[in-house]
Subunit: 249 residues, 2 copies
């Protein structure tokens, strides 16, 4: 019996707690693999110190040239490995825990890596809207950090990212247009519940992670109700199909 993997995620004020698309990808991956894990919740300003302390690799570079650190990170006490980056974590889980569901059927790693780009390309139009709304569901220390860093990136106030009204309506319209493409890809799966058909894969971690973010941030809004009905209810049905892999442990 293996010891639980430590999974570092970013908390929120919501009852589900988990919200970030990038950490949701890892949460789905862990649940799909069925490996024991437990979540340690880390506020944004504490991520860098944690990563350095446990020896997690950086995932990028800041404007000043120094390394940047992001969640998800996992720390596997069974192997002593610390892994950053959702895709690298999924690869690690398949390689280290070959039992249970397979995240990457043979030959699909390049396609699933590209799929992530496709999904972001298709529904990236709501990124400013999603970031703005995400800010408000964070705990105070994360909210302060998130606001400062995202406002620096976009060069404007969070409140100006996607103001309610015509601007936000246009962002939703872009999302709907993008989901037409995703619906077209999905419809090639022979009618199965998951991206690749009847078998779940990391492609579901990717698409599920993004859609979970949209649902969680907009839940109970008219906008989500609207999106949930698009394409014959495909997106709400899909998230329901992923529910067995959506446990927040």
């Amino acid at each position: 019996m293996s010891s639980p993997i430590i999974f570092y995620d970013i908390p929120s004020t919501l009852s589900v707690n988990a919200w970030s698309p990038n950490t949701w990808k890892t949460r789905y991956a862990l649940n799909i693999k069925g490996v024991p894990y437990e979540t340690v919740w880390v506020e944004y300003p504490d991520i860098e110190a944690l990563a350095k302390k446990i020896g997690a690799p950086s995932t990028g570079t800041k404007d000043d040239g120094s390394p940047s650190y992001t969640l998800p990170i996992i720390n596997d006490p069974n192997t002593g490995k610390v892994v950053s980056d959702s895709f690298l974590i999924a690869e690690y889980l398949d390689a280290t825990y070959p039992g249970g569901n397979t995240l990457f059927p043979p030959g699909t790693k390049p396609l699933i890596a590209a799929f992530e780009g496709s999904v972001v390309g298709a529904i990236g139009g709501i990124l400013p809207l999603q970031l703005a709304l995400s800010c408000y569901i964070l705990n105070p220390s994360s909210q302060k950090y998130f606001r400062a860093t995202r406002e620096a990136t976009f060069g404007k106030k969070i409140e100006e990212f996607s103001p309610a009204g015509a601007h936000r309506d246009a962002d939703w319209a872009k999302a709907k247009e993008g989901l037409v493409a995703v619906d077209g890809w999905f419809s090639k799966n022979g009618g199965g519940k998951f991206v690749m058909g009847d078998s779940i894969s990391y492609a579901d971690g990717v698409l599920g992670g993004w859609l979970a973010w949209v649902k969680i941030i907009n839940e109970s809004s008219a906008a989500w109700e609207d999106l949930a009905a698009w394409h014959g209810g495909r997106w709400s049905t899909y998230l329901t199909n992923l529910q067995p892999f959506a446990a927040v442990l």
Copy 2:
């Protein structure tokens, strides 16, 4: 022994004749499957009449609401089926000719459909450049048609799509940036010769089709020499690996 499939492609003034990315996808697919086929060359102004004559489905809608027709189209005398659209043709070939190489390994249709979106998204920055240069290698009747329709779409003269100099250099820089992403996906394939690793698939028809177009239109130019050397020579090596499937029959 089956009769050869009739494959309708668009000719050019180049010695290789075949040049279009969309028909190259089908040519790769036919060669990968190893089914007998022969090419019938059709100039742009003759495509619609041909499609109507043989009962090929339309692939879109014109601005005036009437159906539009595009190549590739195949006409399979063994089944009496006429199929339009490169992806639908690839699906048809796998379903009808299950022997030989498999274009879509189980569950990969949605991923390969999305992959096409990813590739176009990544290297679409050189689309205006590619269209402009493609115009000049067409036969007179196709060139006149191509110029008129593409100039109407972009609202400017072909010569203004990507003028040599700073504008064109910027288009190449965008292509290079986009190919960084494709290189990242490709590098997940375990070092194999093809997108999915050691086994060829329709993902290679897609990526090969686009890269073949770039190479054919720019061959012997400094720009292609430059691109061929990017990413450790990945792209020229890749097209060489696809050469056994690049016959123009």
